[in-house]
Subunit: 352 residues, 2 copies
DNA sequence: CTGTTAGCGCATTCAA
DNA sequence: TTGAATGCGCTAACAG
């Protein structure tokens, strides 16, 4: 009867079969620069291959107490925006040979809490998170335990964390300015509840731009969806868009354009409009924020303000991994924000 | 020099501060049913909280040599189809308190190879994979080392793996039958290269259904994209759809409907048609396969054959985790397939 | 009920 | 150049 319950062979197995000490085997197989004779080296490598030897990272980690990995926690994998962030993180991580561990919190604070704890239990000491749990106590603890955190798009502060944010004020301004330039004088903003600060920032940006262009824009031009709680189905924001069109059409006063709070909401808006015989951009123009992949797949291709999801993931990961930060020595307290840019496509009509 | 470079406290720290033995602390903090006096129990728990004690899973694992986790490897996170699979896996895993580790191979065989190896190195001994590496040697090795594998939607066999497949033959039949029922007599199939067996199966299903309905359908009705290599940008399949419309329109012979090989390709088809003044479903009908979330977000909402992505992920995970399979005792050699069903929406016109 | 100890897989220090 | 021995954090077998 074999010894191991799992048939993964260990360093000891290799050493025994190659008739060398464990130390020597380790030195060869862990690519140490410690000198080992060619004879033994060859033999060890050969045996390792025969035995399908795969180093047990757990054992290794137990020694160094450091895992070359970063965790990523996003609210949902269903939203392409977050997928983009992940892609950014992955490419930064790959450059430095870091592992990426992906979690979805499914928009649940409890799940998020568990995810953070799991990372900690696995001694993954770097974390990039788009947090939905405003209490932040799990994160607090994570940091107390020596973890490094990059907090993306968060509504709250967290001492000791790197804070990365999109410049939503600019995003709002860009959208409004563009509509103004195209000759739109009466514009509506359709948005999910203003409970997230990024939505408020967009609104502020829009207000500011219209004020500068001398275009009237009041609270009666802002349509806010009323909803209980956010859910994880990919359809959530889409349905919101559809609902918003109802109230919009009831209160419409010669609006020629709609700003939707994000692309998926815009999809809902466009479809609901179409079903009422209003076509985009002929009858009414639509612009939104995100530039998810599908924005250019629909008809008409959606004009939208591209948010730098990829860059933000990339940069956050880089800062987190860079030696500068990973040295202990207190909180980094880095904070940076990213600009956005307009992707002009075909959902906005030029009126002038 | 301080001993711990990481400030995560260990079982030993807790034991020392609570003035008990490590064993006792372990018994309390690992929820063992071993009897410990209330006095000590309370004290240990209190100290553990004070110290932010978080068990090091690595140490634990090192003992049992088994990690309650399943790995998932998908070709890309950009495609909602795979996201659905992941969701299915996650819900099955959560039920049994398993961790889910997600990897993307970015459609690279090399990446996939590394991902599998990493899983092995981390002793994650259960894997659900949508493999793009037909050689399968990394998987072979994974299995040899005692890993359990569920191979989803694969083109190749793998001894010792659970094989799960969608019933693409049925999918093809459903689409074709539906079109026939709606009175379409001349239909085209637009597809990416027939290098994947699932695409061939769909084609076979379509052929079979049309034959039964006495509708002519020959090779000249099949339009195959020519492309070098698959890429990881979310736009890949979309662009394919757009290109296919070109060749389709050049060779069109009174086709009234198009079957696209999947939803994203259909998006490309629909947009390209629209840009040439052909509207769906008024001028031409479109049906496809997948039912990704966005299928109902576009205008017109896409009629499509829903593939059981979620169920397939769920079932695969369940089988993998279930004790039946996780007992050693040779290869399980389970093989199962899932049916699909038609989601009738508005991209197909009724002609009769 | 509590404590002591061995050992999981590995890197590393110290001896040879 | 090689090997023996130690310890990383933890559980479990055994001793008290």
């Amino acid at each position: 009867m074999k010894k191991g319950k799992s048939s993964v062979s260990t360093l000891r197995d290799v050493a025994k079969k190659a008739d060398v000490s464990i130390a020597t085997a380790s030195r060869v197989l862990s690519n140490s620069d410690y000198p080992v004779s060619q004879t033994l080296r060859k033999r060890i490598i050969r045996v390792a291959e025969e035995l399908n030897y795969t180093p047990n990272l757990l054992g290794k980690m137990l020694k160094n107490n450091a895992y070359h990995a970063v965790g990523v926690i996003v609210p949902t994998l269903q939203n392409p925006f977050f997928n983009q962030v992940i892609l950014g993180v992955e490419s930064a991580a790959r450059e430095k040979n870091y592992e990426v561990v992906i979690y979805s919190s499914h928009r649940s604070a409890e799940q998020e809490h568990n995810n953070i704890l799991n990372l900690l239990k696995n001694r993954v000491m770097a974390l990039i998170i788009i947090s939905i749990d405003e209490k932040g106590d799990a994160l607090r603890r994570y940091i107390d335990c020596g973890g490094r955190v990059a907090l993306l798009e968060a509504d709250f502060q967290l001492e000791g964390a790197i804070i990365a944010q999109t410049d939503y004020l600019l995003a709002g301004r860009l959208a409004a300015q563009y509509l103004a330039n195209q000759g739109h004088q009466k514009v509506a903003l359709l948005t999910s509840p203003l409970t997230k600060s990024y939505r408020c920032q967009i609104l502020d940006g829009v207000r500011e731009a219209f004020r500068k262009s001398n275009i009237a824009f009041s609270d009666s031009d802002v349509f806010v969806a009323h909803t209980e709680s956010e859910s994880d189905t990919g359809l959530y924001e889409f349905e919101l868009g559809r609902q918003l069109v109802d109230t919009f059409l009831q209160n419409r006063k010669k609006h020629t354009a709609i700003i939707a709070i994000n692309d998926i909401t815009a999809f809902g808006v466009i479809q609901a409009l179409a079903q009422r015989g209003l076509s985009v951009p002929d009858h009414i123009s639509v612009i939104s924020f995100d530039n998810i992949t599908y924005a250019e797949m629909i008809s008409p291709p959606l004009t939208t303000v591209e948010l730098p999801s990829n860059s933000i993931g990339f940069a956050a990961c880089e800062m987190l991994i860079s030696p500068m930060v990973s040295n202990e020595g207190g909180s980094p307290d880095i904070r940076f924000s990213f600009p956005c840019r307009l992707k002009e496509r075909q959902s906005v009509k030029k009126l002038n």
